[in-house]
C-alpha cells in the first residue's frame, strides 16, 4: 500500500508490514462428522444453515443451504407499480436499505425514462454513503462477535445509532426507509440537517482510531485474521466476489468509480485495496471504506445544489413503462455489487420481471473453497469477513 492517508492505514501500518505466518498442520486424522451450523446459531446472522463436514476441528467441506428467508420479493415486485415495489427493496437488504432503494429506483427510472433533479441525486448519494457507514459498523460489531470479542459491537452501535437518527429525521424510519423513490427522494432534508450530518462526520472520525486501538492492533485479532481465508486475485474474479471482498484481494474495481451512476462521477474518493486477500485485508478494506464514505458525504454536503423542495420530480402513481424494454443497472452496495434487472414485457405500470443480483449470494458461494483446511473458528472469521446478510441471499 502507498503512504498512509487514512486513519485505518495509519493505525494498522505496522500490522500490514509484518510478514504473514500461517500453517495448517495435520498429522492426525479422525472420522469425519457433519455438524449443522444453523439455521439457528449465534453467528449465522439470521437464518442460514451451513452443513459442515469436520475432521476433528478441521473443516473439510462447507455446504450452505439457503432459502429459509425467501419472501418472493422478486415475484411480488412483478405485481406492483414502480412506486409500490420500492418498499420491498428495503427488505432485500435491511442492513443497507437505502442502497437497495437506490438500486431498484435507478432501474425503474431507466426503464421508464424518468429524470431526477440534481439535488435529489446528491441527497441519494449522501443517504447511500451514510447507510454504507451504518452497514459497515454493524458488520464490524458482528465480526468482533464472530471472533469472540463482545465489546466492539457496542462501540459500533453507539455510532450507528447516530446515523439511524439522521435517517429518522429525514424520513421517519430507522431500518426500512422507503426514502429513495423513482424521481428523487420522498422528502427534502429538514432544517439544519446538513449541519447535524457534518458534525456527525467529524465525531465519527474521532471515534475510528478507538476501533483500531481496540481491534485492529490487538495481537490476538491479528493472529486470528491474518493469512486466514486467502483469496487470490484470479479466484476472487472467478467466484464473482464483489465489493470489499473483491477489493481485499487487490482487484481495483468499484462500480461507483468505474461505472458511475448518480453524481459519483463528480466526486473524488479513494477506493481502498488490499494485496493478499486474507480476512484481515477484507476487514481493513471495509474500515477504510467508511473513511472514503465520509469523504464522499462531505463533498456532497458542500456541493448540494438547488433550493429546498427541489428534491424530486413528481412521478405518477401509475407511471407507465414502455413495452419491450429491458434494463440492468449496477450499483455498489456495502456488501458488493447489487444489480437490478428489469424487463417491461408488454408495458403498463408494472414491470414484467424484476431480478436482483445481490453480492451476498455470490460471496457466500465462495465460503466452501475459502474455508477448507481451516479450523471451525476460522470458518466463523472467514464467514464474518465476507459480510453476508441472509435476506439478501434469499430475497
Amino acid at each position: 500500500m502507498t503512504a498512509p492517508e487514512t486513519i485505518a492505514e495509519r493505525m494498522a501500518k505496522d500490522v500490514i508490514e509484518q510478514p504473514v505466518r500461517h500453517e495448517v498442520t495435520r498429522d492426525l486424522w479422525t472420522d469425519d462428522f457433519n455438524v449443522n451450523i444453523g439455521p439457528q446459531h449465534p453467528s449465522t446472522h439470521g437464518v442460514l444453515r451451513l452443513v459442515v463436514t469436520l475432521d476433528g476441528e478441521v473443516v473439510k467441506k462447507v455446504q450452505p443451504y439457503c432459502g429459509y428467508l425467501h419472501r418472493s420479493i422478486e415475484k411480488i415486485s412483478e405485481n406492483r407499480t414502480l412506486l409500490q415495489l420500492v418498499c420491498f427493496s428495503d427488505r432485500v437488504d435491511y442492513v443497507a436499505a437505502m442502497n437497495a432503494n437506490l438500486a431498484v429506483c435507478l432501474a425503474g427510472e431507466k426503464i421508464a425514462g424518468i429524470e431526477v433533479p440534481e439535488r435529489g441525486q446528491y441527497i441519494r448519494v449522501i443517504m447511500a454513503e451514510l447507510n454504507r457507514i451504518a452497514s459497515h459498523l454493524l458488520w464490524f460489531g458482528d465480526f468482533g462477535l464472530n471472533l469472540g470479542a463482545g465489546t466492539p459491537f457496542f462501540y459500533a452501535f453507539r455510532e450507528r445509532e447516530q446515523v439511524i437518527n439522521l435517517f429518522e429525521e429525514v424520513c421517519g424510519n430507522r431500518l426500512t426507509y422507503n426514502y429513495i423513490r423513482p424521481g428523487g427522494v420522498a422528502f427534502d432534508l429538514p432544517e439544519k440537517w446538513v449541519e447535524r450530518c457534518q458534525s456527525f462526520l467529524d465525531y465519527f472520525l474521532t471515534k475510528l482510531p478507538e476501533y483500531h486501538r481496540l481491534v485492529t492492533n490487538n495481537p490476538i485479532f491479528q493472529v486470528r485474521t491474518r493469512g486466514i481465508g486467502v483469496v487470490t486475485r484470479e479466484e476472487a474474479l472467478n467466484w464473482g466476489l464483489s465489493g470489499p471482498s473483491l477489493r481485499g484481494s487487490g482487484v481495483d474495481f468499484d462500480v461507483r468509480r468505474d461505472d458511475p451512476y448518480e453524481v459519483y462521477a463528480n466526486l473524488k474518493f479513494r477506493v481502498p485495496l488490499g494485496t493478499r486477500g486474507d480476512t484481515f485485508e477484507r476487514y481493513l478494506c471495509r474500515m477504510m471504506e467508511m473513511e472514503s464514505s465520509v469523504d464522499i458525504i462531505r463533498q456532497c454536503l458542500e456541493k448540494l445544489p438547488g433550493a429546498q423542495g427541489g428534491h424530486a420530480k413528481k412521478v405518477s402513481m401509475l407511471a407507465r413503462i414502455p413495452a419491450n424494454r429491458e434494463v440492468l443497472v449496477r450499483t455498489e452496495a456495502p456488501r458488493g455489487e447489487m444489480s437490478v434487472y428489469m424487463c417491461s414485457g408488454t408495458g403498463g405500470p408494472k414491470p414484467w420481471r424484476v431480478k436482483y443480483r445481490t453480492a451476498s449470494f455470490a460471496n457466500l458461494a465462495a465460503l466452501d473453497q475459502l474455508s477448507r483446511g481451516y479450523k471451525i473458528a476460522d470458518l466463523m472469521a472467514i464467514f464474518g469477513s465476507l459480510d453476508v446478510v441472509i435476506p439478501e441471499i434469499d430475497r
Partner: protein
C-alpha cells in the same frame, strides 16, 4: 461429662467443621452471586452502557432474580443423553472450587484447613473441573458439546503444566507448600516483585484454566454455541455458571496468596487487604475478557506449550540460580 471435655472431643471438632463448612459454603454462594453482578456491571461500563438497572436499587438484585428464575425452571433432561453422566457432571463441576476455597488463608488466623500440601491440593482440585466438563460434553450426546468437552481437555493439558511451573517460584522462595507459610514469607516484599514473570504466567495460565476469554474455547459461542453446556438448562446450567465464578474467585485467591502477599498489608485488617487484592485480580480478569477476542484452538496450544511452559521453566531456573547466589 463436663463441658470442657465435650468441647475437646472429636465430635465437637466435627460439629465445628460442619458449622464452618456451612458458613463458608454460604459465603461462597454470596460471592458468586456478587461476582455475576460485578461481571455485568463491569462489562456494561466497558461497553458504554449501564448494565442491569431495573431490579432493585442500581440493579443489585438482578442475580437474585436470575437465581430464582433458574431454580424454578423445568428440569430438562434430553432423551438421547447418557443420563447418569449428564446428571453427575453439573454436581461434580461445582464441587472442586468449593472444597479448594477452604484451604485459602483469608486472614492471619482465618483459615479453615491448613495442610502442608495445600497448594498441591488446590491445583489438583482445580484440574478436576475439566473432568466434569469432559463428562458434560460426552454425556450430552451433542456434537457441539463433544467438541467443547474435548477442547477443554486439550486446553487443560496445555495449561496445567504452565500453571504449576509458575506456582513453583513462590514455593521455592517460601520453602513450603502451605499457603499460610507462603503468605507469611511475604511479610517484607510481595512475591510479585520478586517473581514478575511468574506472576504474569500464573495469571495467563489461570485465565486459561478458567476457560474465560481469550481462552473460552470450550464454550466459544460463535463457533460451538455454548460448548459443553449446550444441552443444559435451569438449575443444571446454573451449576456450571456458578462453578465458573467460584473458580474465578478461587484462582484470584491463589494469585493474591502466592504473589500479592495474601492478607499482609499495613494499617487495614488482614481480611480487608485480602478481599481488596482478590477483587483487584478479579477485575483484571474481567477487563481482559471484555477487551480481547478469542484464540483459536491450535494457537492456544501453541501458546501454552511453546511460550508459557518454556518461560515457566526459565522462571524456575532463574529463581533457583538467584537463590543459590544470594
Amino acid at each position: 461429662m463436663d463441658i470442657a471435655a465435650l468441647l475437646a472431643s472429636e465430635w465437637a471438632q466435627l460439629a465445628l467443621y460442619a458449622v464452618a463448612g456451612f458458613v463458608l459454603l454460604n459465603v461462597m454462594l454470596g460471592i458468586v452471586t456478587f461476582l455475576v453482578l460485578m461481571e455485568r456491571k463491569v462489562s456494561g461500563w466497558m461497553q458504554v452502557r449501564l448494565g442491569p438497572m431495573e431490579i432493585g436499587p442500581w440493579g443489585i438484585l438482578v442475580t437474585v432474580a436470575d437465581a430464582i428464575k433458574l431454580m424454578t425452571k423445568q428440569d430438562v433432561v434430553p432423551r438421547h443423553v447418557d443420563r447418569f453422566v449428564f446428571r453427575l457432571a453439573p454436581a461434580l463441576i461445582a464441587l472442586p472450587p468449593l472444597i479448594a476455597v477452604s484451604l485459602v488463608p483469608f486472614g492471619k488466623n482465618l483459615i479453615f484447613a491448613d495442610t502442608s500440601v495445600a497448594l498441591l491440593l488446590v491445583l489438583a482440585l482445580t484440574s478436576l473441573t475439566s473432568m466434569a466438563i469432559l463428562m458434560a460434553g460426552w454425556g450430552s450426546n451433542n456434537k457441539y458439546s463433544l467438541l467443547g468437552g474435548v477442547r477443554s481437555a486439550a486446553q487443560d493439558l496445555s495449561y496445567e503444566v504452565a500453571l504449576i511451573f509458575a506456582a513453583l517460584g513462590p514455593v521455592m522462595l517460601a520453602g513450603s507448600l502451605s499457603l499460610q507459610d507462603i503468605v507469611k514469607a511475604q511479610g517484607g516484599v510481595w512475591f510479585v516483585f520478586l517473581q514478575p514473570l511468574g506472576f504474569i504466567l500464573f495469571l495467563i495460565a489461570g485465565i486459561a484454566e478458567l476457560n474465560r476469554t481469550p481462552f473460552d474455547i470450550p464454550e466459544a459461542e460463535s463457533e460451538i454455541v455454548a460448548g459443553y453446556h449446550t444441552e443444559y438448562s435451569g438449575m443444571r446450567f446454573a451449576l456450571f455458571f456458578m462453578a465458573e465464578y467460584a473458580n474465578m474467585f478461587l484462582v484470584s485467591c491463589i494469585v493474591a496468596t502466592l504473589f500479592l502477599g495474601g492478607w499482609q498489608g499495613p494499617v487495614l485488617p488482614g481480611v480487608l487487604w485480602f478481599v481488596l487484592k482478590v477483587f483487584a485480580v478479579i477485575f483484571v480478569i474481567m477487563w481482559v475478557r471484555w477487551t480481547f477476542p478469542r484464540f483459536r484452538v491450535d494457537q492456544l496450544m501453541t501458546f501454552g506449550w511453546k511460550v508459557l511452559v518454556p518461560l515457566g521453566l526459565l522462571n524456575i531456573l532463574l529463581t533457583g540460580g538467584v537463590m543459590l547466589l544470594v
